[in-house]
Symmetry: C2
Subunit: 220 residues, 2 copies
């Protein structure tokens, strides 16, 4: 089935919200999409007519299997384009989101398959988010928050939940990027800050606030 840009944006937002909350309600979707509840209701009727979601008046809604697959197609495109923008065009990762928001609506499937191959079939985008495959399968990675980590274990940074320019600046300073290996050497109880050792760098101290936004996985 083929969708409009607007339909795809709704589907994608519903998908993200229902990942967190199970079912989605009108007001939260309107807030997420920066639109009005009435507009949401209008679109819900269209998406229900296209059999993409379960929806009854006043009762909340959620994507069915067809809807989830449609959402994952858009997410897949978005993340592959983000990977392209950062890895090939050398954009900073905090600049690529709005451009990928446009590129994700280009319709050609062959384009996406060739792009994926050109990029070397990446599994994670530049923010560490998983890229669904063409069947909607999502790669999983056992991630843990840096602030909950035991001491002395070597880990690799796999994603960062705060993706602002401010955070990017901070991480650049510490020479931390996705794929960076590090060890937590010590935790200070006073303020929750951590002494960490980034591979090939001198040990340094990061605040709990930073640590809470960095996710890692154990090596191999």
């Amino acid at each position: 089935m083929n969708f409009t840009t607007s339909e795809e944006n709704y589907i994608k937002s519903i998908y993200h919200l229902q990942q967190e909350t199970g079912t989605v309600n009108t007001n939260s979707l309107a807030a997420e999409m920066q639109t009005r509840p009435a507009s949401v209701t209008d679109m819900l009727k269209k998406l229900k007519a296209k059999k993409l979601l379960q929806y009854e008046r006043y009762k909340g809604f959620k994507l069915n299997e067809a809807g989830k697959k449609a959402a994952l197609d858009v997410v897949r495109k978005h993340r592959l384009w983000e990977y392209f923008l950062v890895e090939k065009l050398k954009f900073d990762w905090d600049k690529v989101h709005p451009i990928a928001e446009e590129l994700e609506h280009i319709s050609s499937n062959e384009l996406i398959q060739r792009l994926e191959k050109f990029l070397g079939n990446p599994s994670f985008d530049p923010h560490g988010d998983p890229i669904p495959d063409r069947n909607g399968k999502i790669p999983v990675l056992n991630q843990q928050c840096l602030s909950d980590l035991p001491l002395k274990k070597t880990v690799t940074v796999s994603s960062v939940s705060n993706q602002t320019a401010q955070m990017l600046e901070m991480l650049k300073h510490y020479k931390i990027a996705l794929g960076t290996q590090l060890i937590v050497q010590r935790k200070f109880d006073f303020d929750g800050s951590l002494e960490i050792k980034v591979l090939k760098q001198a040990a340094c101290i990061i605040s709990e606030q930073v640590a809470k936004n960095v996710f890692v996985h154990y090596d191999q």
Copy 2:
């Protein structure tokens, strides 16, 4: 100024038509765009209001300087994306047009500048058409039709005016592509066919019909 996808498509089509005919009329633009004359009139009013063209009722129309610059921006994007699709994603050149028709409307200027650099600042797209620079300047190449060429001169293929799959198949057979060097050795008056020698290939004969669609330039 920012334009809608529809506006950009009209601007681009007007540009191409006025290259050939000076001024453009409603019916020919409607035919070019596969739409109705009434729809063209509607859009002309919008483009006139945005000061992109000279237009008086019943009198034909043409882009002014602002309109031409807007058109060249779209042409530039289209051709850079075609170059990307063929050179990086390995699409056949006869498959890329409809995809570039979508990509050309992605708005980010920084994207296009970075794409251009990533591609190595190409001057011509995979069909041999010139890629305008960011100021709208178009590279020129003294081209000549293969069928009008004197004998025994070494030339390089620079563009092909018929870009169908059938033509591509034919040229592939003769091992002719953009950049291929060749010499016309003989012309047969009977049917206008040419004996040509492609560099590193045995001499062969091509029909006048093929020759009329191949354009070349003298070496360096």
